[in-house]
């Protein structure tokens, strides 16, 4: 009952005309930029961050969340129509979605993706409303030792799901942590790794890092590759799926939503894992005849529902623990910090309007996306025709202005240039940027909690294993590493990533 009351309270916040407007703007911007080829959700959220600086915390977060699921939706559109996944979580959508488009069923594919996402979003919002308070309550009792171990676990879980080499991903986390430590140590006041540059005393801007890794360096690599881009020319037709489509997809949507909601809560989970898992499940349990790989609508319905549910429930660890499970959530934490709010379990009790308003706005946003996307998809796909040579200078402009406006420091623009060079080098060496961003956000927090935990325990390092919850997190981290290092499982994981 309490949850219901909270949701109603949240709806009150989300349905103020101002917040509806920001949610709508967020959804539209997110969809537009998400549809543009070659810009994924992380870059979209990062580039559009400056739009929220002048807003209060609640409207800013509501708008960013709108941008996020708008971008996700836009990513699915490109996945279906031109076989280019906007981000990794819509990779599996390309398999059956694009096949459907090739067979003249692009409309129903887009339609079922929107309907599935909407259903998943509604259910996931309820999951958040029930689970987040429970988790926040537990988290409020965490001591620094538990927090430290939880962050270790979160980071390990996140890298296990990254593509490619596990060791390189962990190394990227470490590099991210170290870059996150640049600047003034809040505890001792010592200025670290600043090379005598006063501007570096404030640390490296996280917006600059995000822009460099997900914006500029990505553009440079894209320009090198100059892939032949498939142009979508055929007509979409009606986006309304038939009753038969809906009947066929209903259980896929439900299964996808359930899977996505659960996997999204896990640290390191979120949309990516959810969509892969949902596709595999559909392949196994869907009623014959199964035509997966040849345009089976359930291959779109399941993963699209799952990735939306997962994207949404991944807000739970971000909101209640202050721990990002993916780069987008890292950006959200950065946005909160810019707004002067320290993410963590206290947000729910201290800023209920922010917390419940955001959750309720997800439902509003999903409804908007459904209404926006189904009738207007014809308009969005016109954006697919924008050539990359006109798009990338615009990305430069948004990234540079965005980095500058965070603090009004020219230095942050130079920082983008330097960090982009580093990002380019690392991307060339096949190192994933996501773990670095997570490490960057969590680094200072880990140090602070490590310091506090040891201070309370009078320097006794066994505190991390004698406190049961802390020990559980550490054991789980080790277990994950061992499990993933087992050759048989590793082969499976690589196989799954390949698919």
């Amino acid at each position: 009952m309490e949850t219901l009351g909270n949701l109603v309270f949240g709806l009150g916040v989300a349905l103020s005309w101002q917040n509806i407007l920001y949610c709508l703007i967020g959804c539209i911007l997110g969809t537009v930029v998400g549809v543009l080829p070659g810009i994924g959700p992380v870059a979209t959220v990062a580039m559009l961050l400056p739009f929220t600086f002048q807003l209060g915390p609640a409207p800013a977060l509501i708008m960013l969340a709108g941008i996020y699921y708008g971008a996700q939706y836009g990513g699915s559109t490109t996945a279906i129509l031109i076989n280019i996944p906007g981000e990794t979580s819509s990779v599996v959508t390309t398999i059956d979605g694009h096949q459907m488009a090739r067979r003249g069923r692009a409309g129903p594919a887009l339609g079922i993706a929107a309907i599935g996402s909407f259903a998943a979003g509604c259910i996931a919002t309820l999951v958040i409303a029930y689970f987040a308070p429970l988790l926040a309550e537990v988290a409020l009792k965490f001591s620094p030792a538990e927090y430290f171990s939880l962050m270790v676990f979160g980071l390990i879980a996140a890298v296990v799901l990254a593509r490619g080499s596990l060791i390189k991903a962990i190394a990227m986390v470490c590099l991210g942590i170290l870059l996150g430590l640049v600047g003034t140590d809040v505890n001792s006041g010592a200025v670290r790794f600043a090379f005598g540059q006063p501007e570096l005393g404030d640390g490296i801007g996280f917006v600059a890092i995000a822009m460099a890794f997900f914006g500029i360096a990505d553009v440079v690599i894209n320009l090198e590759r100059r892939d032949e881009q498939e142009v979508f020319t055929s007509r979409i037709g009606s986006v309304l799926p038939t009753w038969e489509d809906l009947r066929q997809s209903f259980w896929s949507i439900m299964r996808g939503t359930a899977l996505g909601s659960v996997l999204g809560i896990l640290p390191g989970g979120g949309a990516l894992l959810a969509s892969f898992a949902a596709y595999m499940v559909e392949k196994k349990v869907a009623k014959p005849p199964r035509t997966f790989g040849e345009g089976d609508i359930r291959g779109v319905a399941g993963p699209e529902s799952a990735n939306n549910a997962g994207a949404q429930t991944s807000f739970i660890p971000m909101l209640t623990l202050g721990i990002p499970s993916n780069p987008t959530m890292a950006l959200m934490i950065g946005a909160l910090t810019i707004q002067g709010i320290a993410p963590g379990p206290q947000v729910m009790t201290e800023r209920p309007e922010l917390f419940w308003g955001l959750i309720a706005s997800m439902w509003v946003g999903n409804l908007m996306l459904l209404v926006l996307n189904l009738p207007m998809v014809g308009l969005w796909i016109k954006l697919l025709a924008v050539p990359y040579r006109l798009l990338f200078p615009a990305i430069f402009v948004f990234c540079c202005i965005g980095a500058y406006t965070v603090d009004g420091k020219i230095f942050d623009v130079y920082a983008i240039a330097v960090l982009s060079a580093l990002a380019y080098l690392l991307l060339k060496l096949d190192c994933e940027p996501a773990p670095l961003i997570l490490g960057f956000i969590l680094g200072p927090l880990m140090e602070e909690n490590l310091r506090r935990a040891l201070m309370i325990a009078f320097g006794d390092v066994t505190v991390f294993v004698t406190r049961p919850l802390s020990a559980a997190f550490l054991i789980a981290s080790v277990a994950l590493l061992v499990v993933i290092a087992l050759p048989s499982l590793r082969a499976k994981r690589e196989e799954a990533m390949q698919e």
């Binding site: 190394a171 430069f396 040891l454």
Partner: protein, 147 residues
């Protein structure tokens, strides 16, 4: 010694270099003890871990076969970075309008395929858009013209 996996080998060395660099710098700060860890302790630990992982990655690259490093194209990288640096300089001395113009007009040449008229039109469009949205609508503090 034969490098079988160039990407991993060089990635490993980059990690070792960064790890060692951070450790070397961090050792100049107070380490403290376990009860009260100083500003140097955590970076030394993480830097050591990073170097260690880098060594493993590099060593494995000598044993396990892996893909070659994709060719580095000089033009997109150098032109992009130069355009950003010019943007920073221009924003400081000449204001936003000139800065965007420079960024777009130079940056567009990062692509091997440039159509000058389109680029000029794009620059004008982006200037109008940025000024209208960021400065007028959102009221972000950006200097428009030379101070």
């Amino acid at each position: 010694m034969h490098i079988r996996s160039p990407r991993d080998f060089w990635a490993g060395l980059v990690f070792v270099a960064f790890g060692a660099g951070f450790v070397a710098l961090a050792l100049q700060y107070r380490l403290g003890d376990l009860h009260r860890i100083g500003p140097g302790m955590f970076p030394v630990l993480v830097g050591t871990l990073l170097s260690g992982l880098g060594l493993i990655v590099a060593a494995r690259a000598l044993a396990l076969e892996g893909p070659a490093i994709e060719r580095v194209h000089v033009r997109p990288l150098v032109v992009s970075l130069a355009a950003i640096v010019l943007f920073a300089l221009a924003l400081q001395w000449l204001g936003l309008v000139a800065a965007i113009a420079v960024l777009v007009l130079v940056g567009a040449y990062a692509s091997p395929e440039v159509r000058p008229l389109q680029v000029v039109a794009l620059a004008v469009f982006l200037i109008v858009f940025a000024v209208a949205v960021f400065v007028w609508l959102l009221g972000l503090p950006l200097p428009l013209w030379p101070a």
